[in-house]
Symmetry: C2
Subunit: 356 residues, 2 copies
């Protein structure tokens, strides 16, 4: 990595920092280049006094210290984490929210304790259908329809997912303790789900007998799904299949006759990425990219495509699209029911082709 | 009733008409004085071509004509219907929405077919947990976070309530066919629930395997319920216990020594109204009102309180509060987590007491 690569600041308070995607260099994003998306001021938590409560629909509410967690079996997952608003700045019609380019995404090795282990220790009951993770971060919400008083950042995942073994309460990121911005001492990682689910600074896990209707999955981080003619508000959850072009960047000049590499990353919420295709003519023809990293469940795959640049000269639109093992194909058009989230279609990169 | 009594127009498109509550005169509100709250233009439906579909989690999707419904056993219920925003104009801090005074409420005898009957004919399955009623009224929603395209007015009630025998698909209101504004040819009535649940112009009933997340129970007609420190967005549902003062009206002049009647109506979402109390000193002392109509499940009860006016002279605040058979007592303070809905606290009526 070039020493000069730095995160791009999208917001000071709360902190929002973006990875410059053109600097993509290997499947693991270094911690210091991992994007940050917080919703309130960063809580400064002392490891010694931190406690995690597990309550709700459980046989026995239980409390853990960080030492308790560290004495349990350590599990790791390599997982991509993407903000549900990543790519917003690329939308033709502006939408509200942080104007991320395409770098609110990263891939790391996350280590900690399985959520299943903690729920089993507390004795989660049959009545539980949803599991809420509450962060220590809280504050007022700027929305006329927000609840009264402070709102904690809190999010739920369905019971089955919580008990699947995939979600991890993480205390290490790429082998290092979490930084305060990434959730020290403990954060949730839900592989395959948008980052909104991966609550930072977790202080409580609550098993509920109903689907949680918290602020960050109704008023925020939600979208409209049309079922049989009836739109329904749904929490943003699992990620669809998606690829992004890291290089070349928008506005790059290339010469006809030159050989250039088009490269990027691709991932999917469940299953695995099976192929990435590239178009250098705005979607008319597609060629198959090569995978430059293995398929690791939860992680992204890097890909590259060699292009012997040919005319016509002028502005050209490059696209990539991914396919996954469920047969899903990345869309080339935006679905506006997603509002300001889930920008999962092929984002065009316009470059300039000049004569030899 | 005085011939000059007319509904107060709060909105032209969509239609919103308010009952002048001071004209309250007997437990049944005449059809021509029943408040109207529509969300789009009134659909003009021909009885002969109207059809009702029942589908979703059912053994056999089924369709009914109006003649089909009229040939089934006819059931009736006397039920109060109140808009969830009734009383908004009385709030000290203004909230968005139609600025109803206190007359977006009425009580009628509704007749039609039990929802249970229709669901049983279609063979509702064990997977169904929620039942959606879709109206023929639809249009664009003025909200940046609204779904794309037209949104039909649709609302759900839980399976158990749908099968309880209480909700009725109504084709008669006080013995007359429904008017177009009230949902001709068929509307839902859910006794005990705010009016938002009682979908007009019903054309479809859908049994869902999950809690419906429709626009009119998430983005609209919802409130924040704080459970164990975590606010959750909930659909507006059953009504709490409530009373309203119909007479005297705000600003009335009364003379010390005069005998006046304070009267109004009281109702509750479940159970029955057991008592109404009146205060003529802004809540310091309370006296028991007399019930002037019987307790009919689902309906309101009228009440009156005779007051021998005494000093001090000047502005005086009159309050009423109701109690129900669940031990609930109408609050005297506003709960702001309800946002612009559920104005269920005692609404003060300020009058002027003059010297003899």
């Amino acid at each position: 990595m070039n020493d000069k690569i730095e995160l791009i600041r999208r917001s000071v308070a709360p902190e929002a920092l973006e990875f410059p995607l053109h600097a993509l260099d290997g499947p693991i994003t270094p911690n210091e280049l991992f994007f940050v998306r917080s919703h309130y001021d960063t809580p400064m938590i002392k490891a010694a006094s931190w406690r995690l409560k597990v309550d709700g629909c459980v046989d026995q509410p239980i409390q853990f210290s960080l030492d308790d967690l560290m004495s349990m079996p350590k599990v790791s997952v390599e997982s991509v984490l993407e903000c549900a608003g990543n790519g917003r700045a690329a939308l033709e019609t502006p939408v509200p929210g942080l104007q991320w380019d395409c770098g609110a995404v990263g891939n790391a090795i996350w280590s900690g304790v399985s959520v299943r282990t903690l729920l089993e220790l507390a004795g989660v009951t049959d009545r539980a259908v949803d599991v809420v993770f509450e962060g220590a971060d809280r504050g007022k919400v700027k929305n006329p329809a927000a609840p009264c008083g402070d709102v904690a950042y809190a999010r739920s995942i369905p019971r089955d997912l919580a008990l699947s073994g995939w979600p991890i309460l993480v205390y290490e990121m790429n082998g290092e303790p979490l930084s305060p911005a990434h959730g020290f001492p403990v954060r949730l990682i839900v592989p395959g789900w948008y980052g909104a689910a991966s609550v930072k600074w977790v202080i409580r896990i609550v098993a509920l007998d109903h689907a949680f209707g918290g602020y960050y999955q109704t008023s925020d981080y939600s979208y409209w799904q049309v079922n049989d003619g009836l739109p329904e508000l749904r929490p943003i959850g699992a990620m669809p299949v998606k690829s992004l072009i890291a290089r070349p960047t928008r506005g790059t000049y290339v010469q006809a006759g030159e050989r250039i590499e088009i490269c990027g990353a691709a991932w999917t919420g469940t299953g695995e990425v099976t192929a990435v295709e590239v178009s250098v003519d705005d979607g008319l023809n597609w060629g198959k990219a090569e995978m430059s990293s293995p398929s690791v469940a939860g992680s992204w795959r890097l890909w590259s495509f060699e292009w012997l640049v040919k005319g016509p000269c002028g502005v050209r639109t490059i696209l990539s699209r991914a396919r996954d093992s469920h047969g899903r194909v990345q869309a080339t058009e935006r679905d506006w029911n997603y509002g300001s989230y889930v920008i999962d279609h092929s984002i065009p990169v316009e470059i300039n082709v000049t004569e030899t």
